[in-house]
């Protein structure tokens, strides 16, 4: 590379870093004060882009129209943020953190469909910035003038935020609340107003980050989850709650990506290495590296211990009769059901095992995973590829696939168990995205965005009812096995480690070792669910390993309730069934699902099964 091209890539990277920084700073600010991991933050960014697009149409393509549209779009997104905070989150600040997460998933679904309804499914290409559409010549290369403006905006916003946080009373409150939320409350500060204002500022930053991208990136419906993954990575690399860290991380990642694009393909020792294909992965590699060396990010500090965390309740041993009666019922269903219902039930059974394996790791083992689809997807792809590319019989592929998923879980888990809490969750997401990127780009092996076709089971299982029985036996056995393990010494050790890592270590328990083994175990079983699912569908697409698949799993678990064993199964059944019913009747199934989830969140903050149990208890007490 010449010096000129190095400088150009540097400038490209800095320009890209501006928006990344704005979005991440907003996310970091909101997390710092409210402790909510706001998955809907990416949706706010997406709304910023769409809003700016429409407002520019309205105002006309003049410099004033363009910049007016950008600012107005950001402010409008800020108002949406206030709406989310006041209507949804404020009502559940006392609910468990994971439930707040579920609420933000629901908001993601709703906003996606509002955008679909308002702007349609086509990508919308925005205009170039009027007055800045020319290119500036730097060292013989041409670089868009707009990029130079973006490069300046990053530090300007950083400076403005710094002034706001250090020179105003509001900023002092935000910093205090980031350090110690309870103390700020105890000092008589109106928390509701503080939270709302923080949500406003954070959302404006997300909206601004989106609006500024309008000349660079078409507005589309996939941006919400794509940018949230980026923003998570940047906040975690920079250190949660650190604005300066977010700035630094945005630059590191923006520049690294630009260089990967700029370098293109290089031949090293006879091997062709494609750096441009690395673009999707590089930020996650940086994150994995940073977290292993500096577990709290570049400029982050260890999270303050949270006081008064509710201890997890005792787990109830599932009764065997209960489980067997249900299995028997499920075994009888195909006798009465049509082909369509049988296929839906097969889906439900697969997702039930997926959800139970996720519950195992996030509930009793205390390690929340945002990227559980990695193992489901790897299981599915392993099964499909062993059959199609390696010519193995279906039965062998089905047996080997969970082992391969388990192997990946061992590798990913080695890194993940070194962290805890939100950092751990983000790292799982990073590994899932790395897996997705590889699947998406390795055309010759995985079929890229098209996926793998013709993944059908052997002849004796080609009948849908026969396959349903296979799914029921395999997934049912998987679920019962995981439940059994929860009550074994191994499962108890995991629960003990979740309750008190300090005490676990003090009685000789190698907690990391147990957690690592648990990772491998649930990875293998999620892989089994994925493999069974693949053969039931006959094809595999990259969506089986996407963030959306991971969040679906989280929704299933949280919907049913993380504190009961049967919750995830119920959640998987209801979610899969509801999605099927709604999707058949309306294009806007996501909004309906999101609305239903929000209703449940607001009515049953302990999840469906937990909420119903509480109702039964209250009913019994009233009768007694």
């Amino acid at each position: 590379m010449t010096l000129a091209s190095i400088i150009i890539q540097l400038l490209n990277g800095l320009a890209a870093a501006a928006s990344l920084f704005l979005v991440s700073a907003g996310l970091s600010l909101i997390f710092g004060v409210t402790r909510i991991v706001n998955f809907a933050h990416g949706s706010l960014y997406m709304l910023g882009l769409y809003g700016a697009y429409s407002l520019i149409q309205f105002f006309g393509r003049t410099p004033l129209g363009f910049w007016g549209a950008v600012v107005l779009a950001a402010l409008a997104v800020g108002l949406v943020g206030i709406l989310i905070e006041v209507l949804v989150l404020r009502r559940i600040y006392r609910a468990p953190e994971l439930f707040q997460l579920l609420a933000t998933f629901a908001v993601v679904l709703v906003i996606k469909d509002i955008a679909l309804f308002t702007w349609g499914a086509e990508d919308l290409v925005g205009p170039r910035a009027p007055g800045l559409s020319m290119a500036v010549e730097i060292m013989g290369r041409r670089i868009p003038a707009y990029d130079l403006v973006l490069i300046a905006i990053g530090p300007v916003v950083l400076g403005a935020l710094w002034l706001l946080l250090t020179r105003t009373r509001w900023g002092a409150l935000v910093r205090a609340a980031t350090q110690d939320r309870e103390m700020v409350g105890a000092l008589g500060v109106d928390q509701a107003r503080l939270f709302t204002s923080v949500f406003f500022v954070g959302s404006v930053l997300a909206g601004l980050g989106g609006a500024l991208q309008i000349p660079r990136e078409p507005a589309n419906l996939e941006l919400d989850l794509a940018i949230i993954a980026d923003a998570f990575v940047i906040t975690v690399v920079g250190g949660l709650g650190s604005i300066g860290g977010a700035f630094l991380a945005a630059i590191v990642i923006g520049v690294a990506k630009a260089f990967c694009v700029g370098i293109g393909s290089v031949t090293w020792f006879g091997f062709e290495v494609s750096f441009s294909k690395l673009t999707l992965v590089v930020e996650f590699l940086i994150m994995a590296l940073v977290l292993v060396v500096r577990p709290y990010g570049l400029l982050g500090k260890p999270q303050a211990a949270q006081r008064a965390a509710e201890p997890a309740p005792r787990l109830q041993v599932p009764s065997w009769t209960f489980a067997l009666v249900w299995l028997a019922l499920l075994a009888l269903v195909p006798l009465a059901a049509d082909r369509y219902t049988t296929i839906l039930l097969t889906d439900i059974v697969c997702f039930a095992l997926f959800a139970v394996s996720l519950h195992f790791i996030m509930g009793p083992a205390g390690m929340v995973s945002f990227g559980h689809a990695a193992y489901f997807g790897i299981g599915a792809y392993a099964a499909g590829l062993l059959l199609k590319r390696f010519g193995l019989p279906m039965e062998a592929a089905l047996l080997l696939a969970p082992l391969i998923a388990g192997l990946f879980a061992i590798v990913y888990g080695w890194f993940c168990v070194r962290l805890s809490g939100v950092y751990l969750a983000m790292l799982t997401l990073a590994f899932a995205q790395i897996s997705w990127s590889v699947v998406f780009q390795w055309d010759s092996m995985t079929g890229g965005s098209n996926g793998v076709f013709g993944v059908w089971p052997s002849a004796w299982l080609s009948d849908k009812t026969a396959y349903y029985y296979l799914a029921l036996v395999l997934c049912g056995a998987g679920i019962l096995f995981l439940w059994r393990v929860l009550f074994s010494p191994f499962g108890y050790a995991l629960r003990a480690g979740r309750d008190s890592p300090l005490r676990a270590e003090a009685i000789g328990i190698d907690l990391r070792g147990f957690q690592w083994a648990a990772f491998a175990l649930v990875g293998a079983l999620a892989g089994l669910a994925g493999a069974v699912y693949a053969f039931s569908k006959g094809s595999i697409s990259p969506s089986s390993i996407s963030i959306a698949q991971s969040t679906d799993g989280l929704i299933m678990v949280l919907l049913g309730g993380v504190e009961t064993l049967t919750g995830p199964v119920v959640g998987a059944a209801i979610f899969t069934w509801l999605r099927d019913v709604v999707a058949r009747n309306t294009e806007f199934w996501r909004a309906v699902m999101g609305g239903v989830i929000l209703l449940i969140v607001l009515l049953f903050p302990q999840g469906l099964v937990g909420g119903l149990k509480a109702l039964v208890v209250r009913w019994r007490e009233q009768r007694a």
């Binding site: 309740p313 005792r314 787990l315 191994f490 003990a496 309750d499 005490r503 270590e505 000789g508």
Partner: protein, 249 residues
């Protein structure tokens, strides 16, 4: 005096140039109750955390029954026979009282790696015997998360005794308890320690507890041991009076 269970020689630790513990040496023998006292910030917790493996000393020797344990992890030190209780109780809140003690017994026996057997099928009798000794048997079925603080301290004591320790490290064992409960808990500890020939090292702020229960007392001030001896000796020591009462030498 019988051979020392724990022998500490020339322990040093500083944090960023600030000397937290300097040249601390002492020993405890089996069945002995040794109190480590000192004003806030004297270095008691630092000292403690170097003994239990939480913190590595800059220099110095820590010998458990003749074996150097510096650099070992807390769980390895536990395996060598050191039980611990914490200033803020650490128990498994979602498990029952009995299961908490069984967890330590399973771990001691190396039987936690089983995936399919049912936890709780073994060591029930042993757990109940330990709970009986600390007076918690009647609450064995209750979940730890709902226990009163004083009861949790007793559960911790039972857990700490589960691996038949040679040495018990108790960091402020009576913090957060009512005055009456404090003496009772330490009397119980002393009785169990003598019966089982366990050496006990504890830090404590309540001087009634210290002077009534300890066989010997060592006094730490600004990282340095300034006195040591029986309760009457320490009470009469002018250095100790100076530190605690602030009077001139």
């Amino acid at each position: 005096m019988s051979r020392a269970v724990l022998q500490v020689e020339g322990l040093h630790k500083s944090f960023g140039g600030v000397q937290a513990v300097a040249d601390v040496s002492f020993a405890i023998s089996a069945g002995e109750m040794l109190a480590l006292i000192g004003p806030n910030g004297a270095g008691k917790s630092t000292c403690f955390n170097m003994l239990n493996g939480q913190l590595a000393p800059d220099s110095g020797i820590v010998r458990l029954e003749g074996r150097d344990i510096v650099g070992l992890r807390p769980r390895a030190i536990w395996r060598l026979g050191v039980g611990r209780t914490f200033q803020i109780t650490a128990t498994f809140a979602s498990l029952s009282v009995r299961e908490n003690v069984q967890m330590a017994l399973y771990s001691h026996a190396g039987r936690l790696r089983s995936l399919l057997s049912r936890f709780g099928a073994a060591f029930g009798g042993e757990a109940d015997a330990l709970l009986d000794q600390v007076g918690m048997l009647d609450q064995a079925e209750r979940t730890c998360g709902v226990l009163a603080y004083g009861d949790l301290k007793r559960v911790e004591l039972a857990i700490a005794l589960a691996n038949e320790p040679r040495l018990l490290l108790m960091d402020e064992p009576t913090a957060g308890m009512a005055p009456k409960e404090r003496v009772a808990l330490m009397e119980l500890t002393a009785r169990l320690a003598r019966a089982r020939n366990i050496a006990v090292l504890f830090t404590e702020h309540d001087m009634d507890v210290v002077f009534s229960q300890a066989d010997r007392i060592i006094v730490l001030d600004r990282g340095v041991l300034i006195a040591g001896g029986t309760p009457p000796e320490v009470r009469a020591n002018p250095n100790v009076r100076a530190v605690y009462l602030g009077s001139a030498h």
